[in-house]
Symmetry: C2
């Protein structure tokens, strides 16, 4: 038996957004590894072992997956959203680089999923319909100065911006500072979307202007999207979108 690791994206929450490729990988797995709320989305069955683990142990989890694959198991590492966007794919490759050379001949594959920013954008209209960027606001793995510099350059480039991990109980200050930086760079009427728990029964969407946005409008289940200078609401609707053209 030849082992393998498939790093699969479960999408934002709804089962109806899981691709057939990912469903097939889960149906064929001997082991599923991931942060426990994501592993909990996989139905138990005979022949499948579920390995839920805590947050912030991404490289340990990835190492465990590679170790099991090297022993011949068919391991699926699950992420919510897309595994290549601030999720498990890079963590698995970091563990692969740090591990035994023999691991480099394992079969390793990434299966994309619907990432949170695209699900949030779709639910709200099309705020990412023109050039945009994606920034992880957590400073666990990068200095805050790097984030702040990226925010300023992205604002000057007039990108729409999608923020992952905007705010946690242990890091409430970053998003507060993010709003301050944006207020220095953008006009007060700039639109900001707070999209919480997108595609789940708890989904809520809220548009605010930069002027009225408050840090407590975001938490770790919130995707924040800042429009470009051209992003606008269609009168008489809740739809917000960015036109394709720069007039």
């Amino acid at each position: 038996m030849t082992g393998s690791v498939i790093i699969a994206g479960l999408g934002p929450g709804a089962e109806s957004m899981v691709t057939p490729d990912v469903a097939a990988a889960l149906a064929d797995a001997t082991d599923v590894v991931g942060y426990f709320p994501y592993v909990a989305r996989v139905a138990p069955r005979d022949g499948l072992t579920l390995h839920g683990s805590d947050n912030r142990v991404e490289v340990d989890r990835a190492t465990h997956a590679l170790q099991m694959a090297s022993e011949g198991r068919r391991v699926v590492v699950v992420s919510s959203g897309d595994p290549g966007v601030f999720a498990m794919a890079s963590a698995v490759f970091e563990a692969l680089e740090a591990g035994p050379a023999a691991w480099r001949s394992l079969s390793i594959k990434v299966l994309p999923g619907i990432t949170a920013m695209l699900a949030a954008a779709a639910a709200a209209g099309a705020p990412l319909g023109h050039d945009f960027c994606a920034i992880n606001l957590s400073d666990n793995l990068k200095p805050w100065d790097v984030v702040e510099n990226r925010l300023r350059l992205a604002a000057r480039a007039d990108f729409a911006m999608a923020f992952y991990n905007p705010r946690s109980a242990s890091r409430p200050h970053q998003f507060t500072r993010t709003l301050e930086v944006l207020r220095e760079e953008c006009e007060p009427a700039r639109l900001i979307l707070f999209a919480r728990a997108v595609s789940t029964p708890d989904q809520s969407l809220r548009w605010e202007t930069l002027e009225n946005a408050r840090p407590e409008m975001a938490d770790m289940r919130t995707m924040v999207i800042v429009g470009s200078s051209r992003t606008r609401r269609i009168d008489g609707t809740e739809i917000v979108y960015t036109p394709r053209s720069v007039a």
Copy 2:
């Protein structure tokens, strides 16, 4: 009968990347509207009319979709990839804004799909595993100066960059100029992915350094991803990824 418009993403090409939400919308549609190669991906059946149209008529196509919905039909507008990323969602909203006020009470919904940059990134490893941006290199709808300014700011922010519509027969010069700008801003060893026809039988992946990249490596079926300064290949493999941390 109440009409509706669903703007649905078919993903990059493989049927196994079409979400169940999108498959269900297509199964329930009376009319499917889109650029003809995308409409050709939808199986004909009784009760379904397929309306394929040429490229570059996005707003006409969107207006047609809204008109049919106002007459009570269940219309699905198809895009490849994700409809909110350089695709039909913004075009439909532009047509909605320009059309009769009555259209604003129609049921309009966007269903996300796997966008080309995430399928390409997954096929290659995880080059978008850290902060990144997405830029449409076509200057059909924006002045080239805007594109060039965004490229320079994105390079200075050290974003990985995904380029949509990098090069067409009628616009060969933009990508040539893009490589020149990148050579002014980035080191010669910077990695660039040329991912063509991802997830289809014609898929090809090629990594080059910025120094060796040539304009003719891209065409309209190519997704181009430029790594950040930290993006690297894992020795002994074809995997390229961007680590999660900035050391």
